[in-house]
């Protein structure tokens, strides 16, 4: 079993692609750090009692800072390492959740549109066109605005993460729907699908058990690329102040806070989370490109 895995095509190609190996290394480092944040971080950045103002604005160690704080502290005395690990945790969670919601929604609609065709297909695709015409940030602003108006303030505060996730998911589902629909058009004329239809299998079964596994390749690629987009989108929204507040900082929020110190010499408060975000997004994108090459050898 293990030898079969090692000899398989993707693993073979992976071991011959330095970019993919480096990207996977970075991604594992970042994601591992984020997942294990409660174990790794020396203080809880959300718990105001765990740090003190006395330690505020410490530079990183190599610039003569306090050895307790590897990458320095912010103005509140928060350890940057802990803040970033927790921030990445929040960013990744929102990114993953919205990617999952977008893929379920998009793949579901795309599968059905491609399978049934006709009027249903036309309606779904026109909605997708409208969605594409609206920039993601506008969608997010709209949903945020509506939820603010509809929900009582304290509930809205509690549901901020959910609202943000939903907003990002709604702006990403179109990619999935279009890819799924195009792949279904190719697959549904293949004999194995025709065979299933002749046998009188339920359309849902044909879609989910027969077609879906065969179009997973392109969808997996979209999933990785859109995970990166979702993380970036979340960072953008938080940076603009629509996303998460300063008391539960994601990477975007950290960058926004850091902006204030850009010109005052405390560069690390801005640059450390920014570089962290760049490393995460670039490595996920490189992995996505690698996956695309594996699934579509002709592009190589």
């Amino acid at each position: 079993m293990l030898t079969r895995l090692i000899q398989s095509e993707p693993v073979y190609l992976f071991l011959r692609s330095p970019a993919a190996i480096l990207a996977a290394f970075v991604a594992i480092l970042v994601i591992g750090g984020a997942v294990l944040a409660p174990l790794l971080a020396q203080s809880d950045p959300y718990d105001l009692s765990s740090f003190s103002l006395m330690d505020g604005l410490q530079p990183p160690v190599w610039q003569g800072g306090d050895p307790r704080f590897l990458l320095g502290t912010d103005d509140q005395g928060r350890d940057m390492v802990s803040a970033i690990l927790y921030g990445a945790r929040l960013s990744l969670m929102i990114g993953l959740m919205s990617m999952v919601i977008a893929s379920v929604l998009g793949v579901g609609l795309g599968l059905a549109a491609g399978y049934f065709g006709g009027r249903f297909d036309a309606i779904v695709m026109r909605i997708a066109d409208v969605q594409l015409a609206l920039p993601a940030i506008l969608t997010a602003l709209l949903i945020d605005g509506i939820s603010r108006g509809v929900l009582p303030p304290e509930v809205h505060q509690d549901l901020r993460v959910a609202v943000l996730t939903l907003a990002i998911a709604l702006s990403l589902w179109v990619n999935f729907a279009r890819t799924a629909r195009a792949s279904v058009f190719v697959e549904r004329n293949k004999d194995y699908v025709q065979a299933a239809m002749i046998m009188g299998q339920h359309p849902l079964r044909v879609m989910l058990r027969h077609i879906l596994p065969n179009i997973m390749g392109p969808l997996l690629v979209i999933m990785t690329v859109d995970l990166a987009s979702a993380i970036l989108l979340e960072a953008t929204l938080s940076f603009l102040g629509i996303g998460l507040p300063a008391d539960s900082p994601s990477l975007g929020t950290l960058i926004r806070i850091g902006m204030q110190f850009l010109l005052s010499g405390e560069w690390w408060i801005l640059w450390v989370p920014t570089l962290f975000l760049v490393a995460l997004v670039v490595s996920i994108n490189v992995l996505g490109d690698f996956l695309r090459d594996v699934f579509n050898p002709r592009l190589r």
Binding site: Y192, A195, H210, P213
Partner: protein
Amino acid sequence: MLRVENLTVQFPGRFGVFTAIEEVTLTVAAGEIHGLVGESGAGKSTIGAAVIGLLQPPGVVAGGTMTLGETDLRALDPVQAHQMRGKRISMIFQDPQTSLNPLMTIEDQLIETIQAHEDIGTAGARARAVALLEEIGIAGAAKRIKAYPHQFSGGMRQRVVIALALCTNPELIIADEPTTALDVAVQSQVLDLIRRLADTRGIGFLLITHDIGVIAQITDTVTVLRGGRVMETGPTGKVLRSPEHPYTQALMAAVPPLDHKLDRFLVPHDDRPVLSAPEGRSAADAEAWLTAGAQILGEGLRLQDVSVRFSGTRTSLFQRPDAFTALDRVSMTVRPGSVMGLVGESGSGKSTIAKVITGLVQPSAGALYLGDTDLPPARTRGRRDPSRRLIQMVFQDPFSSLNSRHRIGEILTEPLWLYRLETDATKRRDIAAAMLDLVGLSADAIDRFPHQFSGGQRQRIAVARSLLARPRVLICDEPTSALDVSIQAQVLNLLKDLQARFGLTILFISHNLAVVRQMSDDVTVLKDGKVIESEESEMFFTHPQAAYSRELLSLTPGFPKTSPQLG
């Protein structure tokens, strides 16, 4: 003229070096048509690619010599090789659809090719192009030269491809399956043209094909390949009539003859290990299970005045698109327990009939009957309609008819589960394994994926799947046209056996008249959606009534009259 000696071509890969061609020697003289025949993977096309210098990387010529006249083809640098291609060696590909540029007129493509090899004015090149088109038999060439490829039919397009190959007066033309994508009538015209060019212009042809009929019709000499090695070579008549090598003999025995009906084919090689299947999973169990159904005899099938119209492409927003008539009042009766052969050229509506019967296409008029009961057409046929189980289908391409993400076990147990023929999951697996034994595969195939099997094995799996529904009617749409002759013989044998044992009704759709003769009791000929002739099979082949049927029969490439015996 062309001399290839001890040619060896290798493909270095991940798992070591794969030798595609080993020590192949052949010669082509001027005006000679040399046939290169073999089953898929025999290395036919690789030899052609090596000669013209277009081997796909990582393939390399590892040994041997290739000379054209006095020129050593292996010693050429890339620039010289490029000039050699087209100038002295040309190539004709299988699909005229893709070897012409759809955005350029025939004129532009011909003139471009002529000017690429010769310093000649546009007017001169055009005159030459028109002369060429006339030579290859395109009437009104001066006018038709302005047309785009899509305005020509498939056969005409292949003629244009040949004209392109002739532009530069080559000495050698490599034709890689030049007629495989064409109908018989067109095929024989193109083959005649090739013969004429060899005779009048003295061009040597290297004709690569898997079709022994084509070989028999026009080649002077033939080389039989298998696994990259030459099995036998010599004058065509001699090799085909009295083959010496056992492989050639077996290959010839597997070719379905057009002039008489065989009970069974002699199968060239059967390297299937003889393993006794475990208890409860043997062919006998499968047979017992199949015959345990209430009625085992096949059901009759009748089509009455079935018409199918498809709406064409919309050209205007305000006009209804023109309808295209795929089937025009087709009536057909398949007797219970018999095999009906359905023949016709591409576009004649053969597959549409299959789709109407299986409920994929809604007929615009007409009625269908299964036995004595009405068979509801597509839109009114429910998912639980009994005919869903009684009518099963075997598709042409075994590479796309099995879901590549499912294991064989899942594929085979699906009909049992779907039609509630067996409720117990373990028993379903047992029946599936037994059915694999019945179609001649070992029971351990059940845990593997379709890509781990060859084309012929997959077609057996597809047959097993259709049998697991306990069908009464089997629709086979070109079930062997994607397979090599020896594999075709095995699958046809399997279908014959099953039909004889279980009295299935089979609708056998094929463009290959020889195969139809071997399989069917009755024959229906279709042309442009209309039934031309419907006749008892042997009557049809000995005394065809309609003029079109006679034409079809006479155009099918002849096979050696005396069928060779296995020595």
